[in-house]
Subunit: 153 residues, 2 copies
DNA sequence: TTTCATAATGAATAAATATTCGGTTTTTCT
DNA sequence: AGAAAAACCGAATATTTATTCATTATGAAA
């Protein structure tokens, strides 16, 4: 019996690589691969992954993985080298960095694809961060902290 | 009694402007506006429009109109290569692109001289778009869709 | 106009998906 | 460790959505 993390990853993988069109179908694939669960759990997993059924241009149904989902992890409290400050203005967040660091750090943020952050643009020592609507400053801060920690090793 | 074409247009409009989360809800909006139909027909209409229920980052369900089904001046259904998504946050719009494409696409937007868009800045895979005051999200979406389609040949 | 084909639609139903409920396990906090 | 809280999950169920079936409208061709 495999654990939840593996299952979630596997579901994501299957939806990326195959053309799954219903939960029943996905469920049987999962069972073939040794994951034992019910449709109820699968429905919840899909919700966690924000995977939803959409229509292809051909009019077929298909589960698609949004770009912004990622496997979560835990945090301590280290701070990224090069980052000087994080401050909010209106609904934007701004990170000030050492000169020349902005681009590199911004791309780490981009590649983390946390759902809290819609996108970033960087100058030389400044990163403008556009949060997704509905996320609080606290949530944004948490996400950023986590990202900047994780990239530290 | 209004006709099918009007109804379809209206459905798209409502899904763009409101946060509809079920067919029942949409149905009652339609009825309030003089459209008389059943859930069966609505389901078919949504399928025609390729509108599907997706999950917001907050975990709420919502019907969304795909970028590619907007009525364009030239109705090529082609979506701009490199563009992954368009989303709004506050009064800004953000386009996510394939890595490295943001600059090129942003300059196409800049040179389009649409009155709806004040300016853009681009990172590596993100374009932040600053709309002109007084333009709705829908108008911005339409403008962008048109620009990205037109630049396709 | 009549005929034939096609599209549109609603009622009923099937199919698919989300959630509630209760029990269990896991994590967190002291 | 032990209590409290939170996460997890299946069974059953509620809800939501797609489709089938039958009927009526629409339109094109003879």
């Amino acid at each position: 019996m495999k654990n939840k993390t593996d299952r979630i990853k596997f579901i994501r993988q299957v939806c990326l690589e195959n053309n799954v069109s219903s939960q029943e179908e996905l469920l049987s694939i999962l069972k073939e691969n040794g994951f034992n669960l019910t449709q109820a759990t699968l429905s919840r997993d899909l919700k966690r992954l924000k995977i939803s059924k959409t229509l292809t241009p051909q009019g077929l149904y298909r589960y698609v993985v949004p770009l912004s989902t990622f496997p979560a992890s835990h945090s301590s409290e280290v701070k990224k080298i090069g980052v000087n400050s994080l401050e909010f203005s209106g609904h934007l967040a701004v990170i000030k960095t050492k000169s020349g660091y902005a681009g590199g750090i911004a791309s780490e943020i981009d590649s983390s694809s946390t759902s809290a952050i819609l996108g970033t643009v960087a100058g030389d020592d400044t990163i403008i961060i556009v949060p997704r609507e509905g996320f609080s400053r606290e949530e944004i801060t948490k996400s950023l902290t986590k990202i900047l920690e994780e990239s530290e090793h």
